[in-house]
């Protein structure tokens, strides 16, 4: 069965995770990454105060107290621990989370992202997004490469509100995975049904092939 775009992205991101990594998965596509971790021993953190999220719970195991940052019921691993919100964000800001996987709306050519304000909507929610952008050791952002009207989310400069001046390490889309260096965009890995030239053409920005 062919994977959906979202699953292609999630699976590609899962490749980046290493044994022993502590990982925070944002809502949306990042949540799907958990499906593709396989045998790797990674520790999933949730900013509401949990290290060691387990597999999705069965109906009879649901506990409204035990949820992730997306407010979904979760189970825990045997090595899990709970802590309060201040400690949890200390863990995030203090560079103790190896990888944060976040959704994004735009990424500029330096790797600065906009992932919290919704276009044409009042800005009334930010949650833990900016803390994760600022604090995780490595930030991977996940998104389909184009908006519904076909414009690329990889842009010369952000049109939406920035999530912080910290630059992300990687942008994984359904066509390719990108990294950034001094304003140069590297198409590190092209696995979708577009060639390097087609990608460059559609994005409208110079890309570099590694």
């Amino acid at each position: 069965m062919k994977l959906t775009k979202r699953d292609v992205i999630a699976k590609r991101i899962a490749q980046e995770l290493k044994d022993g990594d502590s990982v925070n998965l944002g809502v949306g596509i990042p949540t799907l990454v958990a499906k593709y971790i396989g045998d790797k021993k990674v520790y999933l953190q949730s900013e509401n105060g949990l290290l060691g999220i387990g597999p999705p719970p069965n109906e009879d195991e649901l506990d409204i107290d035990l949820i992730d940052a997306g407010k979904n019921p979760v189970s825990i691993m045997p090595d899990a621990s709970y802590f309060d919100s201040a400690f949890s964000f200390g863990m995030i800001r203090g560079h103790h989370i190896d990888v944060a996987v976040l959704g994004t709306l735009e990424v500029d050519r330096y790797g600065e992202i906009a992932n919290w304000s919704v276009p044409n909507q009042p800005i009334l929610g930010v949650g833990g997004a900016m803390d994760l952008v600022a604090g995780a050791k490595k930030v991977i952002v996940a998104s389909t490469l184009f908006t519904k009207d076909g414009s690329p989310k990889l842009v010369e400069s952000l049109t939406l509100d920035s999530s912080g001046e910290r630059l992300v390490n990687q942008f994984v889309t359904e066509y390719a995975s990108f990294t950034f260096e001094d304003g140069k965009i590297f198409a590190d890995d092209i696995y979708g049904d577009m060639t390097f030239e087609e990608l460059q053409d559609k994005i409208g920005l110079p890309l570099t092939q590694k």
Partner: protein, 228 residues
């Protein structure tokens, strides 16, 4: 147990325009019994510090619906559609803070720290008008500590002295809020004898807790239901 009260006995503590610190993340760790009494109390015009404004029909959402909230300080109100509408109409003031900044500001408020420098939100709209300072080559944003008049928190167990422990992720903002308000009301599922909580496992020492209210809600799967 002297600290144990019914929620109605606590009505005199609530005064107009007070700043309330309200624990919980979603419904997890939310003091539902106390919050659901607020629409019936005389006081209002509260300034509420909480991650968001409850879930639909539950927790702070009921207090908001009753027109008791003048201002909300938190990190995520997008899911509270009526709050967004009220904000657009100028009926509700909102101060938006990143969730980690919110948690840290409350912790600092409780720990006697006046303010702190966080790397979060530097270079964003949420940094507008705020001081940026470079410390050892990193740019940080200055944030002031947050304190409250009343904290409404939820714990799993209180012993008869008022020491608290929390259940799973229902801990969230509750322990820091317990330290940061002049008066603290803890809603709990269970009250146990002194000595039943080990001194190493206590998260909130009793001196932080002024009043204890027994919760009227019990968990039933992924919901809380009211009992008598």
């Amino acid at each position: 147990m002297e600290k144990l009260k019914t929620v109605d006995e606590l009505e005199p503590l609530f005064k107009d325009r007070m700043r309330l610190l309200v624990g919980g993340f979603g419904i997890s760790g939310t003091p539902l019994t106390v919050l659901h009494a607020l629409p019936g109390f005389k006081a209002g015009d509260y300034e509420v510090v909480s991650n968001n404004l409850g879930d639909y029909g539950k927790g702070l959402h009921k207090v908001f619906e009753a027109g008791k909230i003048a201002k909300a300080i938190g990190s995520f109100f997008t899911i509270n559609k009526e709050a967004v509408t009220a904000w657009s109409k100028g009926e509700l003031a909102i101060d938006l803070l990143p969730q980690g900044t919110l948690a840290e500001a409350i912790r600092c408020g409780g720990a006697g720290i006046g303010g702190f420098y966080t790397p979060t939100a530097v270079g964003t709209k949420l940094a507008e008008g705020k001081e940026v300072r470079e410390i050892d080559g990193v740019r940080y944003l200055f944030e002031k500590a947050i304190k409250g008049d009343l904290a409404l928190i939820k714990a799993a167990k209180a012993d008869k002295a008022g020491n608290l422990i929390y259940h799973t992720t229902a801990r969230n903002f509750n322990p820091v809020m317990a330290t940061a308000a002049a008066t603290v009301i803890a809603e709990v599922d269970e009250i146990v004898e002194i000595g039943e909580l080990r001194p190493e496992e206590i998260i909130t020492p009793h001196i932080y807790v002024d009043y204890v209210v027994k919760s009227k809600y019990v968990k039933k799967g992924d919901d809380y239901v009211e009992v008598n």
